[in-house]
């Protein structure tokens, strides 16, 4: 019965890879990400481990679905509930669809928070924004303005390349960007397109942006896949120096494009810090060390909660040719 053997082997292997389970830690935190295999979240998981080490009695279960779907996340959260973890910290693929399952988790006595990409207030106690949304929006536009200036003109057309049309945080940031846009007289937003966080689609959309808007000066992509594909597209179209790509991305992924000149500068908050903070907050929620207005984040200080229970971690950090290689080693 080869199949049974196979299953047995699979299960044994699986047990070994997650051998941590055996050391029954006092507090177990499920860190749920949008999908496994995204550099940003891998770095966040690293930060979470750092926090666990610091606290000593915490075990972090890093998990997530295969693709960025709400159904996949629900399945994963279901198994965390079954394991009776103490806290769940989730970066949501859908701010509404996760609410019912997270409510159920709370009913079973599990502390729930969201980080990075939020869940509607009904579904969680605390939401940790990597930074304030307004700040991120403004940062992106400022970067775009810098990029336009780098082309040698004071005014120019910019366009946004987003991830999926349904991504919560993307949409909030785009809204914030539009809010601050009037403050930058020289900038005109000509288009918003969606690359679905797929490299090929993002690439095509970026190419189309350049074709449709010959005067385009900057593409703002507040998503790591998008910014990568757009930079490649700019390079392939031979538009380096005429069009700059900017937005949010990881130094390790973008170092090459900064070198090539397709990207002048970009921003990101430190995902390691983000994972660390989320774990710290979860821990404090479990231990009851949180009030309605603030909760500690270890070395990151204290998070101030607003009426919705949202908090911002820190300001995004800007990377350019001067520092990108140093950070590329880290995340």
């Amino acid at each position: 019965m080869a199949l049974k053997k196979l299953l047995a082997t699979a299960i044994v292997t699986a047990t070994m890879t997650t051998a941590g389970i055996a050391n029954a830690a006092d507090t177990r935190v499920g860190l749920v990400v949008k999908a496994l295999g995204i550099g940003f979240f891998e770095a966040a998981a690293e930060g979470a481990q750092e926090a666990a080490k610091e606290l000593g009695d915490v075990e972090v279960i890093y998990t997530g679905p295969t693709t960025t779907t709400a159904e996949g996340q629900i399945e994963v959260i279901n198994s965390l509930i079954a394991q009776k973890v103490d806290a769940i910290a989730v970066s949501a693929n859908d701010q509404d669809a996760l609410v019912p399952i997270l409510k159920k988790a709370q009913q079973r006595g599990i502390k729930v928070m969201s980080w990075d990409s939020g869940v509607a207030p009904d579904g969680r106690q605390v939401h940790l924004n990597p930074s304030s949304n307004a700040l991120i929006g403004e940062m992106n536009i400022k970067l775009a303005s810098d990029a336009v200036k780098a082309t040698g003109s004071d005014s120019g057309e910019i366009a946004i390349l987003s991830a999926t049309p349904t991504a919560t945080n993307q949409n909030i940031w785009i809204e914030e960007m539009k809010k601050v846009l009037p403050n930058y007289a020289g900038l005109t937003l000509v288009d918003t397109v969606y690359g679905d966080d797929l490299a090929d689609k993002s690439y095509r959309e970026a190419v189309a942006l350049m074709k449709n808007h010959p005067n385009l000066k900057a593409i703002v992509a507040p998503t790591t896949v998008g910014i990568l594909a757009a930079a490649q597209a700019v390079q392939d179209e031979g538009k380096i120096g005429q069009v700059y790509v900017t937005g949010l991305g990881l130094p390790s992924e973008l170092a090459g494009h900064v070198d090539s000149g397709a990207i002048k500068s970009f921003a990101i908050w430190n995902p390691i810090d983000l994972g660390y903070s989320a774990t710290m907050i979860s821990y404090n929620l479990v231990k009851g060390n949180a009030s309605d207005s603030e909760v500690g984040m270890g070395r990151m200080g204290t998070a101030k909660l607003d009426a919705d229970g949202s908090a911002a971690m820190a300001e995004p950090f800007i990377y350019d040719a001067s520092n990108v290689h140093k950070f590329a080693e880290i995340f």
Binding site: L6, T18, L36, I61, T67, T69, A70, E75
Partner: protein, 333 residues
Amino acid sequence: MDGIMSQTTQAKATTGVSWTSRFKTWEAFLLLITAAVFVLNTLASPYFLDPWNLSDATFNFTEKAVVALPLALLIICREIDLSVASIIALCSVVMGLLAEAGFSIPLLVLGSLIAGTLCGLLNGVLVTRFDIPSIVVTIGTMSLFRGITYIILGDTALKSYPSGFEYFGQGYVYWVFSFEFVSFLVLAAVFYFLLHRTNFGRRTYAIGNNPTAAFYSGINVARHRLILFCLVGLFCGLASVMLTSRLGSTRPTIALGWELSIITMVVLGGVNILGGSGTISGVVIAVFLMGMVTFGLGLLNVPGIVMSIIIGLMLIAVIAMPILLRRFKQRRS
């Protein structure tokens, strides 16, 4: 006896004999594996054997399983529907819009069921009227239906569902038995009866085994298939009610990629992808098997993509096993 075996019959001969004699082997075989997985899971995780946990786990597959039931009939009838997940999405959008317009819960449900049936009808008409292979038609309608949800919703979500609507996806009938799970069990019984105890089921097998002879025997093959496509659509509508109710919101990406896991359930359940044989009990056991494997691995925090490797291997192994066993027996005799 006549000539060589055609490609189809050759493959058919390798995957099984007939559903009656198969019942003794295939279902027993699956049941054995399922039992083994159950025991392994219990040993591997202390959290597995807990009524509430098991009940929670059923939510992960019940909606898919509800679609797997009529799809099994369709596949037995030598057709396939790849657009099921897209139909679920479209139905969810219809419900969301109705909810937005302030319609009552029964009307939402009715709307979803009607929308699903109409989608199925479109598939069925294209397949039977124009005589096009269903796999091609439904690859097209799969994009079409999902595309319509994108056109309607774009980057917005529909979430103004009336209170009480959450019962279909989150409510419990009795103790740990959820509405979804109980519905699935009832429907499984209904489909068992339909396939194995009615004229309709007999015709399904007849068409699946030999559509020409069935046609010559006075069976309206095109109409029968059309009805099955509608039935699949109807149950996509039902699954959509459950899923939408469970999520409490609708986005265009809802149920993305489900078609392949639903088809995998059906094939794993011993339904011949080339038509003609398969049973509801096999499908039901396969549903539990898949549900249990994924839940068990989930408890061990095995990444989903690794589970998909295991499901993929299981699919091939389970189909290949009887063939290899028979070869082995022939060699020995």
